[in-house]
């Protein structure tokens, strides 16, 4: 059953649940209503009988109608006059719906009303309504008055009014027992009873109406729930369909749910998630395509040159040596590209960086001197405030300077100049590397940090690399909690500005990079065209 239930659609489950709850609540309500109505009618009937009897008893009563005591009252046998009065009383109380029996205190019947049917219709055997003799249908025999049990009778002898219900073969009757007094003596017990047939008929109708109503309402609830849940669940079904589409690789699929409820919010969140996934995959695909593209050209060159060697097209030893050197150069280029790709991949994984104190001025000077950047033909000026220190990975930060200075070298004419400014600005360590190179068109400036983006879309090898240098710079700077910006004027030059959080003044210098910490500006040898201000 559990499995079958779980196999049903959510719509069926919800609808059945609503219908079942409705059925349960209406059943409980109907039962409560039935019990209440039955109790109410019984109480009303009992009160009615009591009022009728009490009214007549008061007319003749010369004693209490109720002792209120729990002790048996003194009893006396009724006199003949009293017997006659009690018989009249019985006759007076008898009606078309009531029967009366008067008992003596010992339980013997003192007086009893005539059969109700006979009195009501004045019917006699053998006479029709118009006095014409005819054979009428046999009337139903009225039920015999109920007989009280001993316990109820004893309670009446103690002065209490008692009601009880009695069942015979034909119908239910309700009887009320009341003591009859003469002065201080109880001379009899009056039993007035009435048939509960009309009441029972009403209750049976009520039961039928409640059962029918409950079933009808539950069925209606089921139908309405099926409709309502369909309206609610249709967007979910659409979402399921779109999810399957996305799962099959269609990242352009969208749910387009615009409702302002929770399902609409789910749909919008889903669409946003898929849009982000699509963008991420597009970037990844582009990245892989660009990486493949960058590798294809050196692969072609190496493969082609190797092929020529094998074909014997390059037979001169000097030419062969040159070919091998070119192949080696292409392999080194592929190696650098793979290194750059690995660096970016590691930066994407947000690795834990070494945390050492690095003096940026010393690092800039060190890189310029050791790597001969930009070139001996460029005039390099390093304008540095002493002790601009940051916490970071010296090797990574060194790569930042290498990449930016290498770009300056590539795009600055030999007689141009490169200026590196290291200072504290607005509570941060600021490095600005400016060149007097060819500059970057305004449309390209926003994209220079993108992977594989090159201002020269032809990706010419005469100057440019793979277009990963600045992407690596940005990745490393951001990994250090810094920012990287670039401004450029075509024809005038470019300035790359890097900002890092400053190291605290009391940061111990122990363990800092030898490259960065073991020299002072004065110690660093100054190349022929390098000016340290």
């Amino acid at each position: 059953m559990g499995r079958r239930w779980s196999n049903w659609s959510l719509r069926t489950q919800l609808s059945l649940a609503v219908a079942a709850i409705m059925l349960l609540l209406l059943t409980l309500f109907s039962m409560a209503l039935y019990v209440s109505v039955r109790s109410f009618i019984n109480a009303q009937t009992t009160t009615q009988l009591q009022l009728q009897a009490r009214a007549l008893l008061r007319e003749r009563a010369d004693g209490p109608t109720s002792s209120g005591s729990h002790e048996p009252l003194p009893t006396a046998a009724p006199t003949d006059v009293q017997r006659a009065e009690l018989q009249e009383l019985a006759a007076a109380l008898t009606s078309s719906t009531t029967s009366v029996v008067v008992y003596q205190a010992d339980g013997t019947v003192l007086a009893q009303s005539a059969p109700a049917q006979e009195r009501r219709h004045g019917w006699r055997p053998g006479h029709g309504l118009r006095g014409q003799p005819r054979q009428p249908p046999a009337p139903p025999e009225p039920p015999a008055p109920p007989r009280p049990n001993d316990q109820a009778f004893d309670q009446v002898l103690r002065g209490a009014d008692v009601s009880f219900r009695d069942y015979d073969a034909m119908e239910r009757q309700l009887a009320v027992l009341m003591p009859v007094y003469d002065g201080s003596y109880l001379i009899g017990v009056l039993q007035i009873s009435t048939s509960l047939r009309p009441t029972d008929a009403l209750l049976r109708w009520l039961v039928a109406a409640l059962i029918g109503g409950t079933l009808l309402v539950s069925l209606t609830a089921l139908v309405l729930s099926l409709w309502a849940t369909r309206v609610i669940i249709d967007p979910l079904r659409r979402l399921v369909g779109v999810t399957q589409q996305v799962g099959q690789g269609d990242l352009a699929a969208r749910s387009n749910l615009h409702s302002h409820n929770e399902i609409g919010a789910l749909g919008r969140a889903f669409d946003q998630m898929v849009a982000r996934l699509q963008a991420t995959f597009a970037v990844q695909r582009r990245f892989i395509a660009d990486a493949a593209h960058e590798l294809r050209t050196p692969l072609t060159a190496v493969g082609g040159q190797l092929e020529l060697l094998m074909l014997g097209a390059v037979s001169d030893p000097t030419q062969q040596r040159r070919t091998l050197q070119r192949m080696n150069g292409e392999l080194e280029r592929m190696g650098r590209l793979v290194d750059d790709l690995l660096t970016l991949s590691r930066l994407d994984a947000r690795p834990a960086l070494r945390r050492e104190v690095v003096d940026l001025a010393l690092l800039a000077q060190d890189v310029a001197q050791q790597e001969h950047l930009p070139t001996p033909d460029h005039q390099l000026t390093i304008n540095a405030t002493p002790s601009v220190r940051v916490i970071g990975d010296p090797d990574r930060l060194r790569q930042v300077f290498l990449n930016v200075l290498d770009n300056a070298r590539k795009y600055t004419p030999p007689d141009g100049s490169v200026r590196v400014t290291v200072e504290q600005r607005a509570g941060e360590a600021s490095v600005a590397i400016s060149d007097t190179g060819v500059g970057i068109p305004a449309d390209d400036v926003a994209h220079v940090w993108d992977r594989f983006y090159r201002v020269d879309q032809a990706r010419t090898r005469t100057r440019g690399g793979a277009g990963l240098g600045l992407a690596i710079v940005k990745g490393i700077v951001e990994a250090h909690g810094g920012t990287a910006t670039l401004t450029s004027t075509p024809g005038s030059g470019t300035t790359v500005t890097l900002s890092f959080p400053l190291a605290a003044d009391d940061t111990p210098t122990a363990g800092q990079s030898p490259t960065a910490s073991s020299h002072s500006l004065a110690d660093v040898g100054v190349r022929s065209k390098t000016i340290v201000e």
Binding site: R296, L299, A301, G304, E307, M310, V314, E330, Q457, R461
Partner: protein, 228 residues
Amino acid sequence: MDEGTEGNVRILVVDDEPTITEFLETGLSYEGYTVRTVANGVAALAVAREFRPDLVILDVMLPGYDGFEVLQRLHRQDDMAVLMLTARDELDDTVRGLEVGADDYLVKPFKFKELLARVRAVLRRRRIALPHTLQSGNLRLDRDTRQVSVGAETVHLTPREFDLLEALLAHPGQVLTKETLLNRVWGYDYIGDTNVVEVHISALRDKIGDRDRQRIQTVRGVGYAIRG
């Protein structure tokens, strides 16, 4: 159609990658074509006017004009055959290249042999004079019918012998090493003894009546050369 040699066919290589242009120049020159190389689209248009190439091998990503732009401008000058090279393998690029008039499209990395085959196919389609026959004295080899004759007599060669003779005739007077012949005829992936070349050369000599080894000469310790 005029008969000719590869040396009559001029090929302009346009690529900004020096390593690519150099190896293409070396390889195509070795195959007998007359080759010029340029590194950008503007130069390509200028050189094409003066050099009047039969075929242009054109890279798509070029500084200045890109390959598609150069192709359109070249076609405005002359309806020359164009084989495009690209490192991008997007279908759109291929379709665009062919739609703007390229005769063929080759994606990097490619084998030089494949490039050579495509160059020949393009030139054939364009009915540009190609040496359909190679000749040395009365020895004649027809590339199209793959028939060889000595004087008026037809010689029946196996495919290997035919390819071997074709390689030698394509470079008359030039000494081809055994390794070169192995690579050209048996392929780069051939693993085996170089004696197979000697065996086939011997059989070839017998079939073309070169018992005195004057036509196919042995350069001891190096390889073989065909002499007129």
